[in-house]
């Protein structure tokens, strides 16, 4: 007797929630945040573990990270319905003091962004000073123990920046996002891929071939792991995925992200002359397209429910 429409049990309790209307601003921010975090993570590793020849590429990486967060950060503010109050996330408006809740992913993210900007800002300043585009004394931030500390800061805040965007989604109650804890790892891996791709795309000529090969290697690791994580998400919440990623979303994910953005670049990195001299930058461009489509699919497919 029960209304037929209501007899259909939803695949998850998350179906009873409402969409926050997070649209393109958030998609683009998550993409730029992933690039920024991934580039800083890889550049920090190159600085800590690599040698002098890697420095050419780390300079490009830190600058990419800084520019990406400087462009992406304001998108978060613009997306607020009361953007003039964005500082309420940073400072307690009633009692004063910093506004921080470790169990709120957005609150955590605000402080991650602030810490990230400081570390990457110093590393980028040192990079510009290295090439004479900034006062010479800024080079101090890229040398010795201080340089190592800043590189470590870039690694930690970079991975946190790339990953927390997934934590914001996992820490919600929306279909797909709140159904899987694996989205954080997925976005972290995708961020590392995208950050590396941006470094290769903009620095494959200037960078030492050994550095470029190392980044390609890291991208291959993260790409394989990305596929594994996507498979785990599909397997663990299949009842949700088959509804949310039904139709166009599933096709974009499969072909746009899986084939075009992950598998094809891996093949191209393995055969660097397959498309002539432009093979490597084309592969990097495809990784970036795949990273963007991944975020668009994950965010917008759930928003459509």
């Amino acid at each position: 007797m029960t209304n037929l429409l209501l007899q259909v049990a939803p695949p998850s309790p998350t179906w009873f929630t409402k969409s926050p209307d997070w649209g393109w601003y958030i998609v683009v921010y998550f993409f730029l945040g992933g690039i920024a975090g991934g580039a800083a993570f890889l550049s920090g590793l190159l600085d800590l573990l690599g040698d002098r020849l890697d420095r050419r590429m780390t300079r490009i990486g830190y600058l990419i990270a800084l520019v990406a967060i400087v462009i992406g950060g304001p998108l978060l503010v613009i997306d607020l319905t009361r953007p003039e109050r964005f500082w309420h996330m940073v400072w307690k408006s009633d009692t004063g003091g910093p506004m921080f809740k470790y169990y709120s992913a957005i609150s955590l993210g605000i402080w991650i962004i602030l810490a990230f900007v400081i570390f990457v800002g110093l590393a980028a300043a040192a990079s510009l000073a290295d090439i004479g585009r900034f006062p010479r004394w800024f080079s101090t931030f890229g040398e010795g123990v201080l340089g190592k500390i800043i590189a470590l800061g870039c690694i930690l805040t970079g991975s946190a920046l790339a990953g927390y965007t997934g934590l914001v989604l996992s820490g919600s109650n929306r279909p797909l996002w709140g159904d899987s804890a694996w989205i954080t790892l997925l976005f972290l891996l995708s961020g590392i891929s995208a950050g590396g791709a941006a470094m290769i795309l903009l620095g494959w000529r200037q960078g030492h071939p050994g550095t470029v090969r190392w980044i390609e290697q890291m991208e291959s690791y993260s790409s394989v792991l990305e596929l594994v994580v996507l498979a785990i998400i599909a397997a663990t919440i299949w009842s949700v995925v088959r509804v949310v990623w039904n139709g166009a979303w599933g096709a974009i994910l499969l072909f746009g992200v899986g084939v075009l953005g992950i598998i094809t670049p891996m093949v191209l990195y393995a055969r660097p002359r397959a498309l002539g001299a432009a093979t490597i930058p084309i592969a990097a461009l495809l990784v970036l397209i795949g990273g963007f489509l991944l975020r668009a699919v994950v965010i917008l497919s759930s928003e459509a429910i």
Binding site: M1, F16, K18, D21, I106, G171, A181
Partner: protein, 316 residues
């Protein structure tokens, strides 16, 4: 907006008069306020008549707009949903077979549940969402900046952006009225006492008695005993301060049978993120080692080639 001139004695859930004197020693409550104690709503859906007096009273007291009102074509439900400007929503659920014989209406005045473990309060990054001395959950409109994380976090789909204030809004359980010793506008207006207001202790007692009464009646009539309480115990997000008496599955009333907190996945998600960071850093180190070994091998190859061709000796 109708604003009563002064605090008046309010009807308790049992219909008797109750003093509005503040509790002795209550430092939070202003003069004339209800004593600080967990309070909420018990909504008995079996006696809701769908008059929507609660919706009107809520909009009237809270000065909420009705700009988005249109005819829905869905039974008598033109309110459609709880959102930033509808803090009460009377659901009209028609359960009729094709021949329209022997069916029934289910009516329920839905509202924010004021969860004991509130997802919205958990995620709010500005501190705009607070828990009051009445254990209710209130969004401070002058602090909210509209990030909308609370909308995605609420397991019941209660919160949305109010088009006038452009901030997230929902039922406050008439916090301002409670602080003046007045019961919430909706329960005050409810003509059948389907919405009962009081302390949780009182409400749980009344609700349990009502469930027993309804199930006894069903038993006597040879029908299924299907009355139960939704959210009265701690099985749903630690308990709901606004709980319901239902006679069908929760999903029929658009309520999740197993609501979860948004923070449920956070520990696992964080651990996976940290593990991923360490794993990728370790793989990075492995890739460096491989590069170094390849470099050594390449140098050794060059050295051997030089020795074989005699260049090595020449070079020395």
């Amino acid at each position: 907006m109708a604003v009563p001139a002064q605090a008046t004695p309010v009807a308790t859930p049992t219909g008797s008069a109750q003093s509005t004197e503040p509790a002795a020693g209550s430092q939070l409550a202003p003069a004339g306020a209800f004593p600080a104690a967990p309070m909420g709503f018990f909504t008995d859906t079996t006696i809701c008549i769908g008059c929507k007096a609660c919706e009107v009273a809520c909009k009237n007291w809270n000065g909420l707009s009705s700009d988005s009102f249109t005819l829905s074509g869905d039974s008598y439900d033109n309110t459609r949903e709880l959102n930033g400007e509808n803090w009460r929503h009377v659901q009209f659920i028609e359960q009729f077979p094709e021949d329209r014989v022997g069916g029934r209406w289910l009516l329920m005045s839905d509202v924010c549940k004021h969860c004991v473990h509130a997802g919205c309060l958990e995620v709010c990054p500005t501190g705009a969402i607070i828990r009051t001395e009445y254990d209710t959950v209130v969004i401070q409109a002058d602090v909210c900046n509209g990030c909308r994380d609370c909308i995605a976090a609420c397991p019941f789909g209660v919160i949305e952006i109010n088009p006038v204030s452009r901030t997230a809004m929902k039922c406050t359980l008439c916090y301002d009225r409670l602080q003046s010793g007045l019961e919430p506008a909706c329960s005050k207006a409810c003509p059948t006492e389907s919405i009962k207001f009081g302390t949780l202790e009182e409400l749980h007692g009344i609700a349990n008695e009502r469930v027993q009464q309804l199930n006894a009646q069903a038993r006597d009539a040879g029908q299924a005993e299907n009355a139960y309480l939704y959210g009265a115990d701690d099985s749903i997000v630690g308990g709901l301060n606004a709980f319901f008496l239902l006679v069908d599955q929760p999903e029929v009333y658009h309520l999740p049978a197993h609501a979860k907190l948004p923070s449920k996945e956070l520990p696992t998600a964080s651990a996976l993120g940290i593990g991923g960071t360490l794993g990728m850093a370790a793989l990075g180190a492995v890739a460096f080692r491989k590069r170094r070994m390849d470099g050594f091998a390449e140098a050794a190859r060059d050295e051997r080639a030089a020795e074989e061709t005699g260049e090595w000796e020449d070079a020395r």
